[in-house]
């Protein structure tokens, strides 16, 4: 069991921002300019959901909204739509955080998968309602499946490397606050 690598909450928040920047950087690299039939998992969404279910104080709603809106702008998506859906999903998971503490990982995984697919379907529905062409169905689902499959890996990494564990009843952080 790895100990938390940072002592303060702020450091984790900064790490989250840094992670988003690194992800954006690698996405923007012009390595592949031909269309491809597969889509990489959305790692940022994985980290957001994994952290929200473990240490919700590390990913406040305002931060999620700001980062996701920036990603929408930089990645040529309809601005605000996916950000709003991810925020809704994250807040839904946050409200299940206490419940999730006592459940096995498989249940958590299923819950996250549901949220990821709900985001994809919700995005398509909204785009169709406002008469825009939604992105190709197959590719969206491939991405949702990839994101779901990457989730356990991200959870493992954030537990082993970052030391982010599920908080248990009565845990205190470095400053002695209850979490």
């Amino acid at each position: 069991m790895a100990d938390p690598i940072f002592s303060s909450r702020l450091a984790y928040r900064l790490f989250y921002v840094g992670f988003a920047i690194v992800i954006l950087f690698f996405l923007l690299l012009p390595l592949q300019t031909t269309p491809r039939g597969w889509a990489a998992p959305d790692f940022l969404m994985c980290v957001t959901f994994a952290w929200v279910l473990r240490r919700p104080d590390y990913v406040p709603a305002t931060l999620i909204a700001a980062i996701m809106l920036t990603m929408d702008f930089m990645l040529q998506r309809p601005p605000g739509l996916q950000a709003a859906l991810v925020l809704l999903g994250a807040e839904f998971l946050r409200s299940r955080m206490i419940l999730n503490r006592d459940l096995p990982f498989l249940v958590e995984w299923a819950l996250v998968a549901t949220v990821v697919f709900a985001i994809v379907i919700g995005e398509r529905l909204v785009l169709m309602i406002v008469l825009l062409d939604p992105p190709s169905l197959g590719l969206s689902f491939i991405q949702a499946i990839a994101t779901t499959s990457a989730y356990p890996l991200i959870v493992l990494l954030s537990a082993q490397v970052m030391g982010i564990q599920k908080a248990v009843r009565g845990d205190v952080d470095a400053k002695g606050r209850l979490v």
Binding site: L29, M74, L75, Q76, L88, L139
Partner: protein
């Protein structure tokens, strides 16, 4: 007990709900404004990109270089076959070169006889590809020339050989090029030698399909496809690619530009486009004011 209270005060209290509501309202507001008045938000997006991506450029270039080196290294595995292939092609090329030289001389003579001047407006600006769209759903690249270099929306972009896409979204130092493979790309083309007019509509695959061909029986796989210049957006006669038939028997285009390696792009300085202010005038011509027509009437009568 303490944690229950902590939880309820931290996560479920009304102020928190209000905050979430306000955040959602802002995000949905962005989306709504984008949907209603896209150009303004897209300009905003271009400005953000313009600020952010050049600050990454120092790191983007070396990492891209490493990625390319890795790709090249993988291609060494079949270097022998490639060598053989290249020798064969070289043989063919030598014959073609002879033909080309003769044709060039003849062409120069004929042009001289006709006193033809080539269109001097068709000059170009060359830019380096900084970044791609970053998403598998969009096909576009960002080049490092922008409004500062006089780039305008709608200009055609080529690599050395063929058409690559069109400029859409210009920042001060960068501009975005929507590739022909993007699902939003529609380009009017002519298929040679039949002279068939058609529409090249990208669908996020490597071989975009051709739509609206008048008589498909006149078109064969292998025919040359050039831009037709219909609609006044693109210059005519730019090489786009060759016709190919997909496994679904649909006519598609094998693009001439090397999409595997987009490094340098030429942005063609086309004529100045009529700016589009509102989408309404695209659908129906603006109503002419009545006064000038009446003013012309007497002059016509006097002529007659």
């Amino acid at each position: 007990m303490a944690y229950e209270r902590n939880n309820s005060s931290d996560y479920i209290n009304p102020i928190r709900r209000l905050l979430i509501g306000v955040l959602l309202f802002i995000l949905i507001g962005f989306f709504a404004v984008w949907r209603i008045d896209s150009p303004r938000i897209e300009r905003f997006r271009a400005q953000i990109t313009d600020q952010v991506v050049p600050s990454f450029a120092w790191a983007l270039a070396p990492v891209t270089f490493l990625g390319d080196v890795f790709n090249d290294f993988r291609s060494y595995q079949r270097i022998y076959e490639q060598n053989q292939e290249l020798r064969r092609e070289l043989q063919q090329m030598k014959a073609w070169k002879e033909a080309a030289l003769q044709l060039e001389q003849r062409n120069a003579k004929l042009l001289d006889l006709n006193k033809v001047r080539l269109d001097p407006k068709l000059t170009y600006v060359t830019g380096v590809v900084l970044a791609d769209s970053g998403s598998p759903f969009r096909q576009s690249v960002l080049v490092n020339v922008g409004a500062r270099d006089g780039i305008q929306d709608g200009w055609a972009t080529m690599d050395g050989i063929g058409l690559v896409g069109r400029v859409s979204g210009v920042g001060k130092d960068t501009s975005r090029v929507i590739l022909l493979t993007d699902s939003n790309s529609r380009i009017p083309v002519t298929i040679q030698p039949a002279g068939q007019r058609a529409m090249l509509s990208g669908d996020n695959t490597a071989l975009p399909p051709i739509d609206f061909i008048e008589s498909p029986e006149l078109v064969r796989p292998g025919d040359r496809v050039v831009s037709s210049g219909d609609g006044g957006v693109f210059p005519a006669g730019l090489l786009v690619g060759h016709v190919a038939q997909g496994s679904d028997r649909r006519l598609r285009i094998r693009l001439a530009a090397d999409y595997e390696r987009l490094e340098f792009l030429r942005v063609l300085r086309s004529r100045v486009l009529t700016p589009l202010y509102d989408p309404g005038s695209l659908l129906a011509p603006a109503v002419q004011p009545a006064a000038p027509i009446e003013a012309e009437q007497p002059s016509e009568n006097s002529d007659g």
